[in-house]
Symmetry: D2
Subunit: 276 residues, 4 copies
Amino acid sequence: MTTESALSLDPVWERLGRGRVIDLAQPMHQGMPQSANHPPFRMVVERRHGDMVRPDGGSAANELIVTGGHVGTHVDALGHVSQDGRVHGGMAAEAIQSNRGLAQLGIDAFEPFVGRGVLLDVARLHGIPVLPAGYEITPEDLEAAAALAKVELRPTDAVLVGTGWSRLWPDHERFIGRAGGVPGPGEAAARWLVDRGVRVVGGETIAFERLAPGAGHATLPVHRVLLVESGVNIIETMRLHELLDTQVAEFLFVLAPLSIVGATGSPVRPLAVIGE
Amino acid sequence: MTTESALSLDPVWERLGRGRVIDLAQPMHQGMPQSANHPPFRMVVERRHGDMVRPDGGSAANELIVTGGHVGTHVDALGHVSQDGRVHGGMAAEAIQSNRGLAQLGIDAFEPFVGRGVLLDVARLHGIPVLPAGYEITPEDLEAAAALAKVELRPTDAVLVGTGWSRLWPDHERFIGRAGGVPGPGEAAARWLVDRGVRVVGGETIAFERLAPGAGHATLPVHRVLLVESGVNIIETMRLHELLDTQVAEFLFVLAPLSIVGATGSPVRPLAVIGE
Amino acid sequence: MTTESALSLDPVWERLGRGRVIDLAQPMHQGMPQSANHPPFRMVVERRHGDMVRPDGGSAANELIVTGGHVGTHVDALGHVSQDGRVHGGMAAEAIQSNRGLAQLGIDAFEPFVGRGVLLDVARLHGIPVLPAGYEITPEDLEAAAALAKVELRPTDAVLVGTGWSRLWPDHERFIGRAGGVPGPGEAAARWLVDRGVRVVGGETIAFERLAPGAGHATLPVHRVLLVESGVNIIETMRLHELLDTQVAEFLFVLAPLSIVGATGSPVRPLAVIGE
Amino acid sequence: MTTESALSLDPVWERLGRGRVIDLAQPMHQGMPQSANHPPFRMVVERRHGDMVRPDGGSAANELIVTGGHVGTHVDALGHVSQDGRVHGGMAAEAIQSNRGLAQLGIDAFEPFVGRGVLLDVARLHGIPVLPAGYEITPEDLEAAAALAKVELRPTDAVLVGTGWSRLWPDHERFIGRAGGVPGPGEAAARWLVDRGVRVVGGETIAFERLAPGAGHATLPVHRVLLVESGVNIIETMRLHELLDTQVAEFLFVLAPLSIVGATGSPVRPLAVIGE
């Protein structure tokens, strides 16, 4: 009833105030690397200062934004993917989808995450800043990366898998990897993550999948395992390199996608808070 | 260098794991109440499950989103408003704006906030669930609301001002208040907040201003004081009623708008974390 | 083989050059009256002169446009409407529609019209500039309007039905007629037009239907009769008042909607050419 | 006053009814070749048949369209381009532009064209179906093409210049010509057209300019000569190959861009009507 009940004693914000907040989102701008399967991001300035001036000399600028739900750093809703006509939980996709989007399993059904984040840095494990294009991350990689960082996964964790790929963001063509491929987890690695009971996983590439050079997205086995079979949301196109450079493997992680009713995904600004 | 350095001992996420995360964003959907000054929000489903099926039986749904930066629950960038041609810090608006948006003071310049949030519930102070339309919140109101909640403002706080107005969200016309007006801080209340050194402020109405019935947005004094004169960001159209109902006045507050380069504002999903 | 074969002798353009071209489209701008069932029109200036200047001093302005296919003066494709799951010709709507639009009966399947246009001015028939809201045009009205103008309908004609409603365009609320209704043909009038073998019909209201005050679009019998049962395209929201004022009932009519593959409709700029 | 006055005797539509209407617009669809300087065209189906069924069994499908004004076959408004800060007529661009677009010289100021069209087929002149990439059309080419077709230009004509480039439309990369260049008029050819007093000119490439291989749009001399200096509108990305194949050089030409208030250009569906 009184405010004393709120996270009393040594308030959590005082400790966090001594921490460092790391931005895990890529900046969104026209022309940024994104999947060709989704509407291209475009922000257009609609009014500039001076276009409309109020009687007292005030003026306001604004913009119009056109975007897909899966551009920039974003979260995949569970209902984004179906397998053989069924979404997570076994419902027919037809039963939950309409012109208004997803009546269930949409991004608005994602409960914002505030909790333990763990980073498994596979690039560091291999002693390189960026994994090779087309490299398939294995369960052994994840196991070894956890051991190297002396960290254990626990149920309900958010697990971020480091490939170093976000370092390539400025090189659009290479980042997208249509020709050259991108590194990512294989189906076995996805199952390894699921077996540990994680709540959400994230990576730096446009799709959290290993793409062989020139192969494209013919199949998306990791999406199937995580979203459809296991109910684990995926964060894609994350900006992890700053966090990778800290070599911190455990942190407070916050993930709060926009609450767009019925959407299959949403751009997001994930944050890691680490100690000094 | 090692992971032990990360917010070690009694990890913060363990304590937060015992807390309750309160969603402070209104759900975004076509037809939701928003300002007529900004592009209307619209999400259109682009592909449904079954439209494109991969060889292995997988299918993905997606959407196109058209929106303004100032729709739904959103943050105003400092450069959103100018006064007499000048933005915060005294620069000419002309010098920082272009067709690419704001080169400075855009929403991408807003450092994500993870820290102490304080709620000043003026509706509760007056013993009513919702302040009357057109009510002007005064410094005395804020002072008394703080006293009632036994909470003190500190520099760098995020301060949310409760009016109960988010309870009216389903009644679009009344919520927007074009005819009837909306409650909000007057210029004096804005200065009172600034004098306490707050980092960011937020409210439930479409504009963090008191609007007299039928008067509209002829002038926006609170925006001028906060954004232009003081460098304090504003969160608007917040969903505060769930937090108001807890009567908790101090909490961990997280605010991470999308990192849209040059935008004057961004939709956002603010969170409060309170103790059990 | 040689150019002499082209509409030789007294070339048609010489005669048309002595005619008068009447613009039958309403101007498109943000905030114009349109159906709430369709995405609102919005043009946003993207680059202004001076934003990007080429080495030689040249600069170009441009825009982004968001619109529905059924806003402003527009043509309904035959596949826009279905009845009991079937489109014109009896095909199942399911069989021709997908996320890419209509594979058949889309606006791109509409063959541009260059031919005889006939105006049946029902407002003039009743001696008033604008028919009353909610007025139902009958076959007798059309018959009498043709007689008054001494004109006969022929197969493949384009027939425009004058109500005078385009004179109300500046009064958005009245024009849309949600509360007050709009005049238009009833089902019997639609059948009368079909029986004369017309190729396309057009009117001034947002929907080529009679809407009773407060009744809205619960059913659209005229659309069913024309589009689904008869394969007659409909032009809506036409700007007819200038043509009405000429009292000319026969003219060259040109209708060339945008060739948007798979769209159910398209904005258009219809023209009438009348003699001196 | 009576209808008899309308283009009486041997009505023009009867003669046109014996003609052939040739569609001069490329079909608009997502992924079609367009300039990277303009918002990409995208049509998204918003409602499909069956999504919303009226009580009587009727249903309607619709779409949302995002586009630039200069995509697909389109007309450049005179105010699209400025030189040294001035638009056609010598006005300062600043004086006519705002966030609402062009107050003058916008596409809504273009008077729809119904008149004589002339085709100068430079590809045919050179005995090839498509001019080489990077080829500069000269005044001599135009002169010779007119002589070959036994046609003379007259003031107020619409002149279309054939390069055969629209045959390459399906080969996006080659059509756009970023690497390889595109054929088009040089500055001298533009002046030659202006000297003949033409009203509007059109071509098949994305920009009515000659682009040297790899050179891009560093300068646009033909746009400057036509739009800024001479007040001659330009039609771009026309689908001319069907007309080229007829070898008809004189025809009725209709050009009616959308009446978008203040826009710098508009998609359009130009038509040619030729004799049997």
